[in-house]
Symmetry: C2
Subunit: 374 residues, 2 copies
Amino acid sequence: MKKIKYELLKNEKNTKARLGLIHTNYGTVETPMFMPVGTQATVKTLSPEEIKDMNCGVILSNTYHLWLRPGEDIVMKAGGLHKFMNYDGPILTDSGGFQVFSLAKNKKKDITEEGVHFKSHLDGSKLLLTPEKSIEIQNKLDSDIAMSFDECPPASADYNYLKNSVERTLRWAKRGKDVFNNPNQSLFGIVQGGAYKDLRKFSAIETVKMDFDGYSIGGVANDGESKEDMYKAIDYSIPYLPEDKPRYLMGVGEPIDIIEGVIRGIDMFDCVLPTRLARHGNIFTRKGRINIRNLKFKEDFEPIDGTCDCYTCKHYTKAYLRHLIVANESFGARLLSIHNIRFLVKLTEDLRQAIKDDNLIEYKEQFIREYENK
Amino acid sequence: MKKIKYELLKNEKNTKARLGLIHTNYGTVETPMFMPVGTQATVKTLSPEEIKDMNCGVILSNTYHLWLRPGEDIVMKAGGLHKFMNYDGPILTDSGGFQVFSLAKNKKKDITEEGVHFKSHLDGSKLLLTPEKSIEIQNKLDSDIAMSFDECPPASADYNYLKNSVERTLRWAKRGKDVFNNPNQSLFGIVQGGAYKDLRKFSAIETVKMDFDGYSIGGVANDGESKEDMYKAIDYSIPYLPEDKPRYLMGVGEPIDIIEGVIRGIDMFDCVLPTRLARHGNIFTRKGRINIRNLKFKEDFEPIDGTCDCYTCKHYTKAYLRHLIVANESFGARLLSIHNIRFLVKLTEDLRQAIKDDNLIEYKEQFIREYENK
């Protein structure tokens, strides 16, 4: 019956990376961490037991999707999202903002001071999502961590657009915080401002003034942002974020981006990448991504990675995984999802060890050498 | 390194039902039993561990599908089907005949004495499946039980067609048996003959003369056969089958049909029904079938059946299952498949107990009363 608490254990010697713990009502989790995405109250194809076996700290679920289906009142009546989906680990919900901007039917939307008018991607019905509504839905979903409703401007937005957008996002954050009403839930603020130093600084300082339970860095996972823009977004925001609160880089799941984020002081990451890649037969390995559909795996009776400790690598060959994916069997997506999520979770375990050992830069260089086959 | 052995434990007092064991290279299983179908070397959506948790005795895999994809040589090189799919319980493969007759592209096929010419349902390529080829494929797949290649005549076939078909199926059975070459595998013969007493008798007697390791009753699971025809097919065949070999009714999975089959002396059943129904949201319950999409389950926070011991009923509500199926999440098909398969396996457990207790008729009457809501 309390909010989360971030505990800083150690700063790495040569970078801004930090080792920490987040204490939640559903257990204590270690940071830096990667959070798999369970869009519709299920991490696609996987059971809660499988997610726990992978040592996932937190899972993410999408407010927009649950609002549309089954509806937040159903989830509330079920006893909240944990009970509804039978998951007794910590859950984070996003604000729905990103989906409204990216999924709305025909992507037509009308952004006003009140909120965003758009059409449902399911049935085209007219909807309005406001900061208050997003918080009300999340309060009912009863996740452990809720996110403020922010505008997600396109990567192509110019300075003036972004300046106005940052100011509106601050007003929206305030409005959401004012109506927030769930004593068991924590609320994060979101820093926006593109790749502009002054806008990120302004957004960070003003958001922190509102005193949230944690801070996200947004606007880095649209289509179109370069890696340089992402690093700028982090570097321009982090100095203004408090040491005693967790920092969350939204929508980032490429292994090298996670490493670069951790080095810059990020504690939490989420991305649909491991499960989405899995459904298309793409697999993370220490030597880069492979696609299991490739003919060369047809008679490959070795696991994806003999040193990987995941259920898939312990029991199945590449030849079998290839067969399942080619034959469009969902057990294939399930097995590859297990491997891909475990790959990213294991990466964060390694990163935590590197922080303890103060050798994060060496770890990064070694990882990239192997991952990019150099 | 041996063939299966059927051990008859008990005949029920008031019916032809029998309690037995089948000893296999992968353990001993109890009969009567229900076998879930893993068409493409995977019981759709499920892991081997989940199948074992449901107390399934044997699983079935499809020769036709594995022949086309990934190819029997790949499976052989993997070390056989058990190793390929990571399943260490007994596996039965069908002959491919039923699929050739039902799945072939446009269902155009040319049945000759040699075998069946048809086009692949995957890419339209011209193929020929013969009795020898079917056995050769199954020998390579290295299942525990292989099936003879038979003709599956349509339900509408007349007496003369069926008579010729039965005779050809006998010649095909002989040809298959002659080339059979796997000391770890057993081979079943198949009794055909529609609903004609003399044809079933002739087919059974002549098939048994060839001395197979078990006997199937085929031609009861096409579209179009009535329940009466199915009962006739069983009743006209069973008297001529030996007591010391298992009897398998192919393609039957309706709960009441399983009960009626057991009463008539059947030991083994298989059907895609539990997994296929699951993918469409249909669920077996003791009070008949329900469809979880029904609006009345939207806020139903009870399990499908509070007395069911399956993973799904122990952990999930109908409201959540409905959400998953409506949202097209494969975890929904997985959870419903677990329940539906466990439902049929539990039914066979109950039937075995009823045979022990010599009260099978009472069990049947009670079951039907409840299942048909009378």
